[in-house]
Symmetry: C2
Subunit: 340 residues, 2 copies
């Protein structure tokens, strides 16, 4: 049986990155002539068929939307998919979901796979690794070939396309300001590493809220987490050494982890420590105490993204003007903050 | 721009069901000659291209696995996908996910869409509506054309293919037997309607455990729920009128709903009422009290399903012998049952 050679196989055979293969095949000036020739010769030899989106676009509409998200065991992304599905179905579109598993290579491979005739356009949220590498050539390429892309939540300003976001900085600002107005003096931050765009924006919102309330940001009060499975030590040190009276956590897993570690140390939430999370998922609803949180409204975000994509797909003429829609957030008050 | 006409459009135009269109195009004897002619003529007129799986199979391997699941905001299905992804990636396969949203029509449309060249084989769990209709022609058709299918969790015995299941009846039996051995005399059941295969098997396990312990099954102690959004009245009536001392719920949403409604009525879990759920998701882990539950091991189920599919895809010769793998379950004891 004859097998189609994939980007991944070419990369492995020639011992170069998938990104290098992809760029070489598109004759990118970023890649040396030598490498390009090697890759192109190999691709030709093994009959590699690159994307030919423009061609397939001319011939047919698949009425299918491709979604690429970083992970699936994550209630926020699941709710966004539900929102996309609602609008897609209302308009006679199907939906296909692929996962990048936070990997740049998988994001490139999945886009390549879907772009070759399976779908009409993409709705996507960037993988952590893509944000770290700042390599968006696979997305730019797809757009240049005439296939629309809508980004949501984890976006980049380096690509011109339609986007749906929340105002992460403002949402974080409001949550921290809320804590300060409740009278808390030692508000800590549990956040992601800086290259995750939403984590960075939420960190900036925290810092701005402190500044506007004439409070000093202290380095020791900010914990940056790369890997949820290895965050306990850092959070325990924060609780022990800094004794914050409130924590703003940039996602619900961080928030529930803070609450659990606090309980283990005999610190009662909300009596001794208040916690506000981000993302109103089922963890926030069913954890004990239930967690006060910034609701991102994933359904609404998904609905907006689908609407923007379908509008663009069904436009008669091309429109070079891209929109960024900002979805409102709101604070859902529960048991992890004082009621008065 | 020329659009490919879809099954759905043909069905709408001719005012027949998608299943009728699909069967007519395959010349099924179940459909009247008159209808078949009408559908076939229409399809021809609008240049409808039916599946031609055998042809695409001969020409290439996509190295992609198609997954069709009933819903995505469901931790169990998300963990199964993670398990499938692990084994797929280890073997150089990609994964595409489509949702049936519990709809038969969407299941048919998604299979049709993926089967035409996008993927090498399917891993799927049946929609509720498909189980209710007992119409599996779309799956049989795909298998007959040489594309392997592995079913997991919600399966049917009417289709010959590889399957991965848990022993739902045995798992339910053990959970109920555990409650009876703790000394509970009034063990109620909160389950799904009968046409959901796993719900039915878990109900049978409950009944068998009562029988083997010489306890009478009472109709009033069994609540069958069709729609989670409208189940409160039935569960409240059970709690009020029957005053069970223990409840076995066939999924974690039913379990957490029982606990919340009990709390509202002043019934304390586990002091006045014990609850065991099914599916070890994040609701069970983070709800208060944390819920004792039957763990289905979704990751392992996904890994097994992917392994079975890839084995079959990479087999040199066709093997008509299908396997059903049974994944072990175990009870995770938490706070919703007494510790002694």
């Amino acid at each position: 049986m004859k097998r189609k050679v994939t980007l991944k196989q070419i990369a492995r055979e020639l011992d170069v990155s998938i990104s290098t293969v992809s760029k070489s095949l598109r004759n990118s000036p970023e890649i040396s002539e030598d490498t390009k020739q090697k890759v192109q010769a190999f691709a030709k030899l093994y009959n590699y068929k690159p994307n030919n989106i423009a061609l397939s676009l001319k011939n047919k509409k698949t009425k299918t939307i491709g979604i690429i998200i970083p992970e699936i065991v994550h209630h926020f992304f699941a709710t966004v998919i539900s929102g996309i599905e609602q609008v897609a179905n209302e308009n006679g579109y199907n939906v296909i979901v692929c996962l990048s598993d936070e990997s740049f290579d998988k994001e490139v491979i999945n886009m390549e796979m879907l772009a070759t005739g399976s779908i009409d356009g993409f709705i996507m949220s960037l993988s952590k690794e893509t944000q770290l590498k700042k390599d968006f050539h696979h997305i730019v390429e797809v757009i240049n070939q005439g296939m629309p892309v809508v980004m949501f939540d984890r976006i980049t300003n380096d690509v011109f396309c339609d986007k749906v976001i929340i105002d992460d900085q403002m949402a974080a600002y409001e949550a921290v300001d809320y804590l300060i107005n409740k009278g808390f003096k030692k508000v800590a931050l549990v956040t992601t590493v800086d290259y995750v765009s939403v984590g960075k924006l939420r960190t900036e919102g925290y810092l701005k809220a402190l500044r506007d309330n004439n409070m000093m940001a202290e380095e020791d009060m900010i914990v940056k987490i790369e890997d949820i499975d290895n965050c306990s030590v850092k959070i325990e040190r924060l609780l022990e050494e800094q004794k914050p009276d409130a924590i703003f956590a940039v996602n619900e897993l961080f928030a529930v982890t803070c609450i659990k570690l606090a309980a283990k140390m005999g610190v009662n939430v909300p009596d001794d420590l208040s916690v506000i999370g981000f993302t109103d998922g089922i963890i926030s609803q069913f954890s004990s105490p239930a967690i006060t949180t910034v609701s991102q409204n994933g359904i609404k975000m998904g609905r907006s993204a689908a609407k923007m994509l379908i509008d663009r797909l069904e436009m008669e003429e091309e429109d070079e003007h891209y929109r960024t829609e900002v979805i409102e957030t709101h604070l859902v008050e529960r048991e992890s903050t004082p009621t008065l």
